[in-house]
Symmetry: C2
């Protein structure tokens, strides 16, 4: 039987939360090397396949929760008040209410994304992870990391991974309530590993990831093989990380990302997140690779590229992509 978020949380947290005064937390963005695409439960954001990401160090979201002094919930995004019926405000308040439950305490939420607009990154992963971390502190929930990750997942699937820095694996889990579907850090350091963000096009994407995933699952016959490929890619990427085999990692991550986009392209109506500039950038990556530079790309549900390379090729990569925004990744197990 399917559970709602509220049912799962009530089961896991039978006691009502303590009213809080102030809490603050930060969570990083993350980029998946093995993608999350498709849900086995849309209410709980339970994935059909496990995934693996790298967190983006100091790029992410900082969230502060305080008591509201206006008698009503208040939401601020990047310093500006957001009206109550704005979709962002509604999502944030609905998520808080899952934990606040019958506690009659209006709160003030201040969210700051330090992700440069030029990065072309979504902020829902770091946003829900930071919010969950702040809620845990604010309401004195005392949750384990596994629970924090599983609950963040209920806000946005990939938020489960943004609880951690470094390389992170999100276990798909098998339980109906999803409490075995959480992320864990992978105990690996790789100081020479580089991620660069290549923004090639602007403009809001037309189809959000949630709807895109659903359309793919519903209409793309080719999607049927995706879960199997993704599970194999996940194992290969873990082996490549353990062996620090960059070419195997890059190949598998790029193949995985393009296969995910292939399932979208095979959907109806077609779901193409690429812009002409995306294809031009992909071809530049392949051109540079054909010249001997081990450079790989990954892409999410948008037109921008993320480049994977090693520090020793930094100069060649920057020369070919002067507009590249590179990320100072924190690998915490150094």
């Amino acid at each position: 039987m399917k559970s709602t978020k509220a049912q799962v949380i009530e089961f896991c947290l039978p006691d009502l939360p303590d009213a809080g005064v102030r809490a603050e937390a930060f969570a990083p963005s993350n980029i998946a090397l093995c993608k999350y695409w498709g849900k086995r439960d849309a209410e709980l954001n339970l994935p059909v396949n496990g995934s693996l990401s790298i967190s983006l160090g100091s790029l992410g979201t900082r969230t502060e929760i305080t008591e509201s002094d206006t008698g009503t919930d208040q939401v601020f995004l990047n310093g500006k008040a957001v009206v109550q019926d704005n979709p962002f405000a509604r999502k944030v308040v609905a998520f808080i209410s899952l934990f606040r439950r019958e506690l009659d305490q209006p709160v003030c939420i201040k969210t700051e994304n330090n992700i440069p607009t030029a990065a072309g990154l979504a902020s829902s992963a770091s946003g829900f992870a930071a919010l969950m971390l702040a809620l845990n502190d604010f309401y004195h929930l005392g949750l384990s990391h596994d629970r924090l990750s599983a609950f963040a997942r209920m806000g946005s699937g990939s938020a489960s991974r943004s609880i951690y820095q470094g390389f992170v694996e999100w276990h798909k889990g098998n339980r109906a309530d999803g409490m075995d579907s959480f992320a864990e850090p992978i105990n690996i350091t790789w100081p020479g590993f580089r991620v660069g963000l290549l923004k090639v096009a602007t403009g809001a994407k037309k189809i959000d990831s949630r709807s895109g995933m659903q359309r793919t699952v519903d209409t793309a016959a080719l999607y049927e093989q995706w879960p199997k490929q993704a599970e194999q890619d996940l194992q290969t990427i873990k082996r490549a990380l353990a062996d620090q085999d960059f070419e195997l990692l890059g190949q598998t991550a790029e193949h995985n990302a393009l296969s995910m986009h292939a399932t979208m392209i095979a959907s109806w109506p077609p779901l193409l997140y690429w812009q002409p500039e995306s294809v031009a950038a992909m071809q530049r990556v392949w051109e540079l690779r054909s010249l001997g530079v081990p450079l790989y790309l990954t892409m999410d549900a948008g037109p921008n590229l993320k480049l994977l390379y090693l520090a020793e090729y930094e100069a060649q990569v920057r020369d070919a992509f002067p507009e590249l925004l590179d990320i100072d990744i924190v690998v915490p197990f150094g």
Copy 2:
């Protein structure tokens, strides 16, 4: 047990051919609405799925065969002599020799493609179909249409369909020798049906279709569902033709083409025939469709688009795509 082309032909044509004096034949290009992608037998060009195309009227290849007066085989392409070790000349002569067998008669082959370079169309389908039709006449083979189609297929898979004008179905067949894998015309007229060719990029494609197919079959996990989808698309397109349901036809043809490209994109190394201009043109098609014009696209193993629409929307389509080259399709069952 697998057969070679020579074995199949010897079995089907036990008698040696008569030496000829002169023969000439024309065959049209064709554009698949349900694509041929993947072989169950690479030697005989036996497909994993049935396919369906529309032939392009007077756009195609005219081939003349005469006795050679130089004592050696001669090949001319578009009025120019082609040296013997040129890949085109070698393919043509090898194909002729399958039928000439031990007959010691050098021939002169003159091939003229009237496909405008601007159309961005391959000429192997019409080329091998015209050559097969001319060989049948030249050597007095007296072959049935089914046999002509099956033998043309051994030169180039899609040549099986170029034996006919109008809408044509290529049956995948099941026999090991492939003699049940031939095309047949579909007895349907549709005077308002339009095909437009949109050349968006120049330059020879880097990976030929034969190699691209093989790479897809070998490396794309998502390809596993392609044969099943293609068979379903084929049935849907036949139903749409019978009902003259243009939207169903267009949707299925576009979905089929994009799914084929999806299998390529999910290959390793990635196989992307699209150029930035292809994506820009695809978006223009979708934009026009969102404005209510029933316009659909299909694409083959190259960067160019083929547009499908009805005569009543000609003005809107030409307005949006002034560079469109439209095709005067011959539907022979008028």
